[in-house]
Symmetry: C2
Subunit: 229 residues, 2 copies
């Protein structure tokens, strides 16, 4: 079985992505990034998800982005709540972490080189992407081209493939596909601002998109929200 | 004055690069990466260099690459010593850190976005590059193109420039240029395997290239090597 590095946050998207990588016949090496995010519960969920889904390897790279700042997820900026969707879909939100996916893909590429994988999975999607520039397909394509120039393996003639299978799927379609593949969404976490016990707030952009996705997919939402359920 | 993010390791190359960014009229925001390298003395030197050269800002991003491994600088692999130059110039050495410059540039880009800089300086050079693929000019060019796609600033129409002014210069030329700009090379650190007091070993590839550079530049080498001086 060919290995693939799967970026895993423990959220709905990346967990579905892991299930899709397995369904495509890859042996997944999961990579979680501990980037000083407020929602550290993510990492715990990521580890549980990787274990439950039989990943061969789960690695965490700690990186402290607080000295860079600039995002509601890593600096002292409030996470917006109860935003109507019309507002969510305009502009780039304060939860944008500067160059985050570029950074994550760079780390995934380094790990791919070390473990001998030439495939990387990232659960970005451009439909419900909430305004992040580094979720767009043209970014993913440009990164794959750069990967060949950046690495020892690339110089030696290997080609890297960056899979973003959720690209173009709505949240509802992602949930339907994951459900078909047997994903237990009760294990996943999406909230930007969970309480001390890790329970989802139900009101940030991420919770709102998640709820709407389950409604549209006509799949019961297993998430215990503290508010706005 | 326009700001520029300067990747600074406290080594000979990046310190010269900082001097060149200043000479080009930029207000430097220095970024050092604490990536679990064996030679942690680098960071202390980087801070001193930034201070001595009047940088407005010095930031450190800690990232632990030990869970990725794969390099003599971050894993338990021996640093090679006393290699003849013919051997050094062939193949990619064990001191290669997978996708390191891609990772560093990604972090620099994120910081650039936060501080409102559109110029990034990186002290790579392709002549004495010791075989690292991510020091080649074609890599740097491809990264600059990707930067526009990866960021909020890029989406909003800003263009990022990645300056690699040492590209194409020999170590001797770098030392001559830095000397002309008043760099105190006694503050800089190059060794891959320093002793507990931070003194250079004099025998790793980096020390050997440094020594040769000073000889060829006909500039006295201020480095107190423990061996092979």
């Amino acid at each position: 079985m060919k290995k693939a590095v799967v970026l895993l946050s423990g959220g709905l998207d990346s967990t579905t992505c892991l299930a899709m990588a397995k369904a495509a016949g890859f042996d997944p090496v999961c990579l979680a990034i501990d980037y000083g995010q407020r929602h550290a519960v993510e990492l715990e969920r990521a580890r549980k998800v990787a274990l439950a889904m039989g990943a061969r390897d789960f690695r965490v790279v700690p990186i402290d982005l607080r000295s860079v700042g600039g995002s509601a997820l890593t600096a002292d900026i409030a996470v917006p709540k109860d935003r109507p969707e019309t507002e969510m879909s305009h502009g780039i939100p304060v939860t944008y972490v500067p160059a985050r996916n570029l950074l994550f893909l760079s780390l995934a590429l380094g790990l791919a080189e070390v473990v001998g994988a030439y495939d990387i999975y990232i659960g970005v999607n451009a439909v419900d992407y909430s305004g992040y520039p580094d979720c767009r397909p043209q970014f993913i394509e440009a990164f794959a081209a750069l990967a060949g120039l950046a690495t020892k393996a690339g110089v030696e003639g290997q080609r890297f493939q960056v899979h973003a299978p959720l690209s173009g799927m709505t949240k509802a379609q992602i949930i339907q596909e994951g459900t078909r593949l047997g994903v237990n969404y009760g294990m996943t976490h999406s909230c930007y601002d969970p309480d001390a016990k890790g329970r989802a707030c139900g009101r940030c952009d991420s919770c709102l998109l998640r709820k709407k996705g389950f409604q549209e997919a006509r799949v019961p939402d297993p998430t215990p929200y503290t508010e706005g359920a």
